[in-house]
Amino acid sequence: MLYDAIAPLLPSVQKPARYTGGEVNMAKKDPKNVRVRFAFCFPDTYEVGMSHLGMKILYHILNKREEFYCERVFAPWMDMERAMRENRIPLYSLETFTPVKEFDLVGFTLQYEMSYSNVLNMLDLSGIPLTWKERDEQDAPFVVCGGPCAFNPEPLADFVDLFMVGDGEEQILELCEHYDAWKARGGSREEFLLEMANIEGNYVPRFYEAQYDGSGEFAGLRRTRDDVPERIRKRCIADLDSADYPDKIIVPFTEIVHDRVMLEVARGCTRGCRFCQAGMLYRPQRERSLARLEELARKLLSSTGYEEISLSSLSTGDYSHLPELARDLMQEHGCKKVALSLPSLRIDSVLGDTLEQTQAVRKTGLTFAPEAGTQRLRDVINKGVTEQQLYDSVLDAFSKGWSGVKLYFMIGLPTETYEDLDGIAHLAKRVLDAYFAVPKEQRQKGLRVGVSASSFVPKPFTPFQWEPQNSIEELQEKQRYLKEQLRLRSVTFNWHEPHLSFLEAAFARGDRRLCGVLLQAHKRGCRFDGWTEAFDFDAWMAAFADCGLTCAQFAQKRYALDAPLPWDHIDAGVTKAFLRREWEKALRGEVSPDCRVHCHGCGINQFCKGVCKSCE
């Protein structure tokens, strides 16, 4: 067995438990008795991948079916990769130590653009040809991808057989079922993919072709045969309550990023922040019922033994039964010392009641995301939060014994000026004011205010999809300026190197020409780009140059409003007309209130036939 070859390498690598599986609740099957083997690959480390909710859901759904076996694969850290390459050990699954190459289907989840180089590297480590053309020749496994980045699949079009767009719960089962039938009857690869291409939500890039204009710029995507759909409609699960959700999840031995039970209380978000891709992609907002969540919490806690539970969604504070849910969970599980953590508290969510209950068990970090420093810019991005609300919320928190607050901002947003940066410093000062407004004997000592500024990345399917990103120099200058403004007692300022955001912007909105860049970057050794210790910016720039392209031409591109966009063939449910209206409103500084107050006709309700509860 492959394990015997792996074990001798483990004493010399960091965190060896990443590579050996065998955890509690891992799916155990005899590979000989299953019909379809699916390698679920997460293109990042074990700790990151194991924390991902989507993977847990799909793993559960597939393994519930006796005839399918879904196994996990993560990207080995660089020390392990070196050891594996030196000893000619191929990438393998943690369940049965089977080489990935022996699987029927190899699926990657694309959570962020900066994991693409790991996708190629993992295929390479598996000995699977990188492009679908080469795989056709060798009859290698099919490579399929899903996740939010599948909404602009073009930068990976040469490497992937099939993209699955939207909610994956039903899609992943259909894929395995169709594969099973196809394998049984024995047809050509193309025949299988053609069949898949005609199922809603599936995109098979080989049946489409990119056009370029005289100057070499992207000029649209066209299908090359008329028996595939012109546009690919995303999949959407209408009713979350009846959707499958794991009642047991794997409990890793070694600590992972989110080491707890995660309850997905809702999918989607009603707030409509204009920079936020997730808010657009996961429309309409759908909630799980209180009864269902309490049942799931009960089962998950007893099957995992976890001591902590978190509520997860894009905007957990907006979940309509949040206070009841928090109270019931604490009442039922508090005696077993189960802590409840509410990660993404929002300024205007029902803080009071819930906060006190969280505090009764375990304090988690208090975070606020005003995103922009002035009301003007917050109106532009439609972040419906006011200075007064922020002040009141932190005042309330400080008077209840909190002493640490984190504030998240973005720099480089469309229309931003230095006044908006001053606004960030102003808000930080207001938080300090709030702290000192609480009587000394009432407040906790040790005030800590963390201000962090990330760089804005324009994303497809947002009202800012046409906007260019600031240049690296502009972003650095803004960071320097902010650093000066934030030299305040008790305040620490964190920022991200803009180089990564620059690359992210290119891949987020890029077209098929980036496939070549990615391949070159892979050849130049790029991997783990999201990790500072591994990120090699120069290698990436060289990869662009290899292809006669620049990163700036994608990242800083202003798409014309009527120009074809590389992701136009994907139908995310929100219409281009709506995005354009929102973009125009943004420039006028006009807000669009929360969907629960007012429907803005984004199109999703026609798309998913009346599923949007908000617009009733």
């Binding site: 060896p16 050996t20 065998g22 509690v24 409990v251 031995f253 033994g305 001591e307 010392k337």
Partner: protein, 218 residues
């Protein structure tokens, strides 16, 4: 409840810290009536005799679990094992006695069995035993310092079957001082790749006699 458990196969690769959370969660899954610590982050009251190096097997790890209600040892063993993965199973359990001191306080020695493939270490072992002192560089949190490890080795036997050496060793393992099997092996045969397993933990009984820590309640 005092429980002896094995840690082998795929289970050897996680650390002592990971073992703590793994056991706590298994005890919760088994719904055993554990006791929780007071304070900010309450956890299951659970104490181990000692830590084990990552990568090493053991047949004899010991832990002391505080229970709020009495549970029969056989019941405890069965319920906990149903919630523990393969390779991490309880082998035997007994009730802790009133006023029994902590396992770690009574631990005196640990026994190891090691197989070193392709090497004859009989002479090296004999030389080691014959030496009045063997000073090696020992790495600790405070840095590297020379230590005489000879007095920390209480028994060392080596058998050779024509291909591989099999060693059995009993090493000092107290709160104050301990010798890792890996360090002794490194001294005997630098750079050897070998499989190391802990086979027993001992306390000092009456007249300085060696008794199994699991048995020794007092």
């Amino acid at each position: 409840m005092i429980a002896e458990f094995e840690k082998k196969g795929r289970m050897v690769w996680f650390s002592h810290l990971d073992l703590q959370s793994t056991m706590q969660r298994a005890l919760r899954r088994a719904e055993l009536p554990v006791r929780f610590s007071q304070g900010f982050n309450p956890h299951v009251e659970l104490a181990f005799a000692t830590a084990l190096s990552v990568g090493a097997e053991s047949l004899c790890e010991l832990m002391d679990v505080e229970l709020a209600e009495e549970v029969a040892p056989a019941d405890f063993l069965m319920r906990l094992n149903a919630c523990l993965p393969e390779g991490l199973q309880v082998r035997r359990a007994r009730l802790a006695q009133e006023g029994e001191p902590a396992l770690a306080a009574r631990l005196a020695e640990a026994e190891y069995a090691v197989c070193v493939p392709g090497r004859d270490l009989r002479a090296a072992a004999a030389d080691f035993l014959a030496a009045p002192a063997v000073v090696v560089e020992k790495r600790s949190k405070k840095g590297v310092k020379p230590v005489d490890i000879r007095p920390l080795v209480h028994a060392l036997r080596c058998a050779f079957d024509g291909a591989d050496s099999r060693l059995e060793m009993i090493l000092e393992q107290t709160n104050a001082q301990s010798l890792k099997a890996e360090l002794l092996l490194e001294t005997l045969c630098a750079g050897a790749r070998c499989a190391c397993a802990r086979t027993a933990l001992y306390a000092r009984g009456a007249f300085g006699r060696r008794v199994e820590l699991f048995e020794a309640a007092k």
